[in-house]
Symmetry: C2
């Protein structure tokens, strides 16, 4: 009997665990998810596994992932592992490293950098205690970084000679799943402006193509999909700025 | 004839390319390094390869790495690739993912977070234009994050049942090479205090054990080793704080 896939992450928000859920849902893989437990139970599951179990080192932070004897952490790492197992990592060894580079860049630019807009000083302090710096960072990020990231992804999408909406052209991979969904939640005004500029049509088409994949569409409309709230992606009206505000 | 390894990165500072250099030097692998060119030449080499060559996607930022037909970016990704090729990734497929998790966590906590101490708002602005926020972040980082990171690595090092100074006990891997070297440069006062506390002895022993490896020792005393200056790790006297300053 094959070991089940186990996602061990806090419940309550999609968070970094969401990238992993999307890969599992896309592939129609059977998995358990501690997000279905109560918040305290999910927290306890996370804490236990971070301590290091059965020949695995302790890890620093969730998401963590268990498959048989192997326990690992780090979103991109879990995605890379699953990508190989679930057939979402292109063809052959070389593609695996190309896709990991793309996924790491998407997680850096479209997730970590956006998170740091509401916590530019340190995550151990509340948003309210770094509100001023957060506001300045949001303005500068939207002005400098957002067009840089969107422009980069547009370039990647246009560079593939083959037809297809995906980062590797006609081959769908787990890197396509990272995309701009959370950025749309955190910075709706700037993203509306970006869309209307017509400069990033392929990027927005990729997002729509991901959401239209049958398994993803079905997941997004299910109760398993949690709402954005206090996690990585947050909406603060005062930070909902456009480039001209900087 | 085997393809040579090619590191394509800016010259002038160790930067993120240094993690890759250390892996290559440790293994005694033959490689070319654009850091040996003039700054403008190295910059041009970086720009060219970022555009995407021969079936490789465009990449967002250096370091980039070329081996035969494959071009990849992202420090952890290049390390993972080299780890397998150079025998620095433990034994078997599962270790590969455990080591990648450790390397990603070390690069996040001991490199990216330290970098963001001098650029908390946005990298497109000068340090001088975010000096106030940088100072606050440095104080809070040294107070909250530094002990969290050092404590975590101490825990990992103590968790291995086998004898040995390495993260996986007796097995040396490329993740050991990331370590605290740059943090010592950026925050000497806080690191002195951390060392004298006696709470992180294994972490400091790991750093010394890495520097004592013959190939690493020889590299560090060679002219190939560039000095820390304006790169990822920077020394600003006003940010050289201890936890009590926060």
């Amino acid at each position: 009997m094959a070991s089940p896939y186990e996602l061990i992450y806090y419940g309550g928000v999609p968070g970094r665990g969401e990238h992993i859920r999307l890969a599992l849902e896309e592939a129609g893989a059977a998995y358990t998810d501690t997000a279905t437990l109560t918040f305290n139970e999910s927290r306890e599951a996370v804490t236990t596994v971070l301590e290091g179990i059965q020949g695995n080192p302790p890890y620093f932070a969730p998401p963590t992932f268990r498959h048989g004897d192997l326990i690992i952490s780090q979103t991109s790492n879990i995605l890379m592992y699953l990508g190989s197992k679930l057939g979402l990592a292109g063809s052959g060894e070389n593609d695996k490293y190309r896709i990991n580079a793309l996924a790491l860049t998407a997680l850096d630019g479209l997730s970590n950098e956006v998170h740091d807009c509401h916590h530019p000083i340190v995550v151990e302090l509340y948003y309210e205690d770094q509100k001023e710096e957060s506001h300045r960072r949001s303005k500068e990020w939207v002005k400098h970084r957002l067009p840089k990231h969107l422009g980069y992804w547009e370039k990647v999408l246009k560079s593939t000679e083959a037809e297809g909406p995906w980062l590797l052209g006609s081959t769908f991979t787990y890197a396509d799943l990272v995309c701009i969904d959370g950025v749309l939640f955190a910075f709706p005004k700037a993203m509306k402006q970006a869309k209307e500029s017509g400069k990033y049509n392929r990027v927005f088409q990729l997002w729509e193509a991901v959401r239209a994949r049958p398994n993803i569409a079905s997941y997004l409309s299910s109760e398993r999909r949690q709402k954005y709230d206090w996690g990585i992606y947050r909406y603060y009206p005062e930070n909902d700025v456009v480039a001209e505000d900087a």
